[in-house]
Structures are given as structure tokens and as C-alpha cells.
């Protein structure tokens, strides 16, 4: 199985609003992927569909090769941390880990205990009295304690202070370093995502707008500054701003930029995401020339 999560025409309707519309994507295994997009774009919906908390209205989703709905075997291989990090507030931290032990056949209790102790969290403290950062660490211990193949996290950094964020990401990366786990996490904090993620999925207005390797996306997208012009040979213009003296173009490179009048600048991941979000009609999806997912599938067939 080459894709940790694979969706085909996935759609979800709530009442009369489409939370997701015709999404087809494949997340390769072993990647640490960022899921970004504006509020209401469908990130939580997609993640919930991926862990069996929701049923699709149309299309399909396969997690680790199977439908996750009412599927205890596949859930045993997925670790999930929901938005706002739900825990049983009346339980002590120790009891939270007991829950993990009783409900997951592949649970590694010593591993989970160690993760919690490492962050100086008192095992006898009640979860309701933990700080935001401590809650996040406990939830992560719960998710990684079953030694999953896939970790899914819904905005885990949202209510954390900068130090707690750094510590949480550090713990997450340790987990990623230890095993071949695939990670998918959604967040607004794109600068944090750039440090840790090597794969990017952008959801905008219920659709997948961008998907691909971060390295490749950053290599193929540039900002060009030069004389006032709205097109350039060798690149597709995603967005442009003009003054009477100068044009600044955000482009995707398709060939060679021969014109020396353009200065080429690198972009950050945040620049890239913001540029695409501002242009809902633009997209960077795997096609016949590129696309890791497509290549994987072709290789698998051959």
C-alpha cells in the first residue's frame, strides 16, 4: 500500500452546505504532511472522514487501505488527536493511559508512560487541571501509545503558547523519527509547518487546491520582480501586483525564464499558501507531468 490516505471524489454535505466537494488525493506513506486552509474549508471534515468519525456523502476514502468506519482493526493502527484535545477531565493522567491500554490491542504502556513522564507531567493529576501544553502531550502519548502507522492531528497547536508549541512539535518529530509513521496535521501556523512538514495539502472552499512535496513546490514556485508586465515566458502566473514602475508576479515555473529583466526570488511555504488561497481558481495538483501520488500508483501497477 503506497498511500496512507486515499480519497476518490470525496464529498460531504451538511444540510445544504458542501463541506468537501469532489476531493481526490493520495497521501504517500512516510510523509509528514501539513493540511492547511482557511476556516470552514473542510479540514476537520476531511480528517474526521479519515478516522471514521464521519461517513462520506459521495465518493470514498481509504485509510491504510481500508474504510475506517466501524473498523477496529484499522483504528488500531491510527492515532488521532481531535481539535481542542478532548480528554476525560475527571480522569487522572494515569487513568487516561489505562484507557489507552484497555481499548487498544497494540498498546505499549511503558512507552506511553515514558512520554508523559519526560514532560514532567504528574500522573496523578486530573486531566481537567492540566495546562494546554500538558493536555496536548497527554493526547499525543495516547495517540502514539498504540504505535500507529498513521498519526492524524487536528489543529493540535491552536491553543498552545510558543514554548508549548515547540515542545509538542518536538515530541511529534521524535515519534516520527522512531518509526515509519505517516503524519497528517492541520494547522494555521504555516511557519511551524514549514519546519516539520515535507508534504503539503491546501484545502480551500471544500476543494483540494494544492498538493505535493514541499521541496518540489518551493523549487517550482518563485516571485519575479521586473518591468510592468502581466505575463512571462516559462512560467504560469498565479498572482500579480503592479505599480506603474514595477510588477511583482507569483509564478509556477514551467520552463526556463530566459528574460534577464526578471529577478527571481525564492518563496517561503507561507508565501506559497497565501498566494494560492488568494487565488481560488489557481491550483497545483498532480498531473501528467508531475505528481508523486500518480507516480506511486503507476509504479505500483508496473
Amino acid at each position: 500500500m503506497s498511500a496512507a490516505i486515499e480519497t476518490t471524489g470525496l464529498s460531504k454535505l451538511y444540510g445544504r452546505t458542501w463541506a468537501l466537494r469532489d476531493c481526490s488525493l493520495a497521501l504517500p506513506t512516510g510523509k509528514i504532511a501539513a493540511l492547511v486552509g482557511p476556516n470552514g474549508a473542510g479540514k476537520t471534515t476531511l480528517l474526521h472522514l479519515g478516522v471514521g468519525l464521519l461517513d462520506p456523502t459521495a465518493g470514498s476514502i481509504r485509510t491504510l487501505g481500508e474504510s475506517p468506519r466501524e473498523n477496529a482493526e484499522v483504528l488500531a493502527r491510527i492515532g488521532f488527536v481531535a481539535q481542542d484535545v478532548p480528554l476525560y477531565d475527571g480522569f487522572r493522567v494515569r487513568e487516561m493511559l489505562e484507557l489507552g491500554r484497555h481499548l487498544n490491542p497494540s498498546w505499549d504502556h511503558d512507552f506511553a508512560l515514558d512520554r508523559v513522564r519526560r514532560h514532567d507531567i504528574d500522573l496523578d493529576q486530573r486531566c481537567g487541571t492540566l495546562s494546554g501544553g500538558q493536555r496536548a502531550q497527554v493526547a499525543l502519548a495516547l495517540a502514539t501509545g498504540k504505535r500507529p502507522e498513521l498519526l492524524v492531528l487536528d489543529e493540535p497547536l491552536a491553543s498552545l503558547d510558543p514554548l508549548a508549541r515547540r515542545e509538542f512539535l518536538g515530541s511529534l518529530m521524535e515519534a516520527a523519527a522512531e518509526s515509519e509513521v505517516t503524519v497528517l496535521l492541520s494547522s494555521h501556523l504555516i511557519t511551524d509547518m514549514e519546519r516539520v512538514c515535507d508534504y503539503l495539502i491546501v484545502l480551500s472552499a471544500a476543494r483540494v487546491q494544492v498538493i505535493g512535496e514541499v521541496e518540489e513546490l518551493l523549487a517550482t514556485h518563485k516571485v519575479l520582480t521586473g518591468p510592468p508586465r502581466d505575463h512571462v515566458a516559462g512560467a504560469d502566473v498565479i498572482s500579480a501586483t503592479h505599480t506603474d514602475r514595477q510588477s511583482t508576479l507569483f509564478v509556477r515555473i514551467t520552463g526556463r525564464i530566459a528574460d534577464p529583466g526578471w529577478s527571481v526570488h525564492d518563496v517561503t511555504l507561507e508565501d506559497l499558501v497565501l498566494a494560492y488561497l488568494a487565488q481560488p481558481t489557481a491550483s497545483a495538483l498532480p498531473g501528467p507531468l508531475g505528481g508523486n501520488a500518480r507516480r506511486d500508483r503507476l509504479e505500483a501497477r508496473a
Binding site: 474526521h48 478516522v51 471514521g52 468519525l53 464521519l54 461517513d55 466501524e70 473498523n71 477496529a72 482493526e73 483504528l75 488500531a76 491510527i78 488521532f80 481531535a82 481539535q83 481542542d84 478532548p86 480528554l87 476525560y88 477531565d89 480522569f91 487513568e95 489505562e98 484507557l99 489507552g100 484497555h102 481499548l103 487498544n104 490491542p105 497494540s106 493526547a139 495516547l142 498504540k146
Partner: protein, 335 residues
């Protein structure tokens, strides 16, 4: 999963056990006094001696404990508490607090999660309700001996096995509404309303029809200074309706009495003048002429346990349907 279900609900279980324990203690202590009064009024000896009318003594005994009628009302309500505080929050709380996103992504299907929780809570409710029913049945025993009204509505509902069925029904109702409405307080309100509604409808309208009622007829006769009915209510029966009819079947008056004007219309001159009462002889002959008799429609005491069984079965069936519906909602309609 059993560990989780117990850990989550152990506080509720302890509170329930404590409440039941306190109630039991109260009933045991008060029973001492009741037993004493039972003997001291002479009711005990009167009832053990065959024949004899212990009615007046029984009335003395009953009057001592009028205040305990409030208890009977409380006993009626106790099954509802299980529905409100154990049933309604069971699913609704997890949805309200968002912890369903935590527990449904552990390696357990919703079916197993729900089944285990329901089994544990229903099991606890069953044990608690059975203990409750047993102790109330025991405690009301002396009152029943004084006056056997165990088949009448209100008393029927707090003794025997039906309280257990009501409790499981209330639980199922609470769970169902909690799952349907997804919020605890509105679910509690819905459980309260529908439990009362179903109980009232069943008791007032359905119960009378579990088996075809029996009727007995007794002629009315005038004797001595009053009326002798030559009739006594069947012992321990549930009296559904009593009416006085003439030979032809026309109703002579409301309930178990008769209307003097009705008789006067049939026997002219019965009432000498307005406001006066007829003479004993004239009344007696008129009653005989008109053929007044007294019809009692009732369910005999021997059917008590059959009725307990039928009613329990109905409530248990309703509970089962509600639980099945809740399971379906959990697996297919929630999230």
C-alpha cells in the same frame, strides 16, 4: 471496555447505591413502628381470627399513616430518576463534551462501545430496581393486609416486578433521547415528559384491557334502617366500574348509588312532597318492582401476577425497541 464503562459511571453507581441504601434504612426503621401499631390496634389479632369484620380497626390503623402517601408518590417517581440521571447523559454527555472524538478513535467499534455501556448500566439498574421493588413490596405488606388494594392503580405500580420494568424503560427512554437530541438537558426534559405520558396512558387506559374484565351482579334490597347490598366487593380485586341498573338495563344513578328521582318516575307517589324522604315500605317495594341491581366490573385478584407479567413485558419490549433504535442512531446517524 468494561474497565472504561465502570470508571466513567462508578460515581453514578455509588450515588445510586447510597440513595437506595438510605431509602432502605428509612423503610426498615419506620417498619418497626408500623408493625407495632399493627399489633397494638388489635388488627393483627383481628385478622388472624377467621370471620369477623376488621374494617373499622383497619381504618384506625390506616389513619395513623396517611402521611406515608407521599412516599407512595415518591416510589412512583424513582424509576424516572434512572432515566434522567443515568440514561439521558449516557450518550449526550460524550457528544456535548466532544470526548466521542477520543473514544471512537480507539480500537473499538461504536457497536461494542455502546453495547458494553448499556449492558453495564442496565445491569446496575436491574439490580437496583429489583432491590427497590423488593423492599417496597415488603414494607407495604402490612398495609395490604389491612386493606388489600395491591391491584389498584398507584399501588400496583410500586410493588411486585413492574417497578423493574419501569426503571429499564425509563433508562432506555433517557438513552434514546440523549442519542436523538445530543444534548443532556433537552434529553432529560423529553425523557421526563414522555415517561410520564406513557405511564399515565398505560395505567389509565391500557391496563384495564390486558384481559377481558369480569362482571358480577347483585340485587339491591331494602332492610332494616338502610340498604343491604347482599354484596361485597371481591376481595383484593381491581374494581373498574360500578353501576346500578334497573331490570331493563337503564342506569339508575351514578357510580354505586341510585337516583331517587329515577325511582320516583317509575313509582309515582314515592316522594310525598318536595324535600321529603320516602317511607321505608314504599322504597322497598319500588326497588323490588324496578328490579334494581348492582353491577361490578372488575379484574379478579387471581389475575394480579398475570397483569404484573403482561405490563412488565410491554415495558421491557418498549425498552428493547428504544435501545435498538439508539444503537442504530449511534452507528449510523451520529457524526
Amino acid at each position: 471496555m468494561i474497565w472504561l464503562a465502570w470508571r466513567q459511571h462508578r460515581q453514578q453507581a455509588l450515588v445510586g447505591a447510597l440513595g437506595l441504601g438510605l431509602l432502605a434504612l428509612f423503610l426498615i426503621l419506620t417498619h418497626v413502628g408500623i408493625a407495632n401499631t399493627f399489633t397494638s390496634t388489635g388488627l393483627q389479632s383481628c385478622l388472624s381470627a377467621p370471620g369477623g369484620d376488621c374494617g373499622p380497626i383497619a381504618e384506625v390503623f390506616d389513619r395513623q399513616y396517611h402521611g406515608f402517601q407521599i412516599l407512595a408518590a415518591l416510589f412512583l417517581v424513582i424509576p424516572l430518576f434512572v432515566g434522567l440521571f443515568w440514561g439521558a447523559p449516557l450518550i449526550a454527555r460524550e457528544l456535548e463534551q466532544g470526548t466521542y472524538r477520543l473514544v471512537w478513535t480507539q480500537s473499538v467499534t461504536r457497536r461494542r462501545w455502546f453495547s458494553t455501556k448499556i449492558a453495564l448500566i442496565a445491569g446496575g439498574s436491574l439490580i437496583g430496581a429489583a432491590a427497590f421493588a423488593a423492599i417496597v413490596t415488603w414494607w407495604t405488606g402490612l398495609f395490604i393486609r389491612a386493606d388489600d388494594n395491591r391491584f389498584s392503580p398507584g399501588i400496583f405500580d410500586i410493588r411486585g416486578i413492574v417497578p423493574v420494568a419501569y426503571t429499564l424503560f425509563a433508562l432506555a427512554l433517557g438513552v434514546f433521547f440523549g442519542t436523538l437530541v445530543r444534548r443532556t438537558l433537552p434529553a432529560m426534559a423529553a425523557t421526563l415528559g414522555s415517561f410520564i405520558g406513557v405511564r399515565v396512558l398505560m395505567t389509565l387506559f391500557a391496563r384495564t384491557h390486558y384481559m377481558a374484565a369480569k362482571t358480577v351482579s347483585a340485587p339491591l334490597s331494602v332492610q332494616g334502617g338502610g340498604f343491604k347490598f347482599g354484596y361485597e366487593d371481591p376481595a383484593g380485586a381491581w374494581i373498574l366500574k360500578q353501576v346500578t341498573l334497573d331490570r331493563a338495563g337503564a342506569i339508575a344513578g351514578p357510580g354505586g348509588g341510585f337516583d331517587l328521582n329515577f325511582l320516583n318516575a317509575r313509582c309515582p307517589g314515592l316522594i310525598p312532597h318536595a324535600g321529603a324522604l320516602p317511607t321505608q315500605a314504599k322504597l322497598a317495594s319500588c326497588v323490588r318492582e324496578v328490579g334494581l341491581h348492582f353491577i361490578t366490573t372488575y379484574q379478579p385478584a387471581t389475575r394480579y401476577w398475570a397483569f404484573q407479567g403482561i405490563e412488565s413485558a410491554i415495558y421491557l419490549a418498549l425498552a428493547a425497541i428504544l435501545i435498538a433504535a439508539s444503537m442504530w442512531l449511534v452507528r449510523h446517524r451520529l457524526a
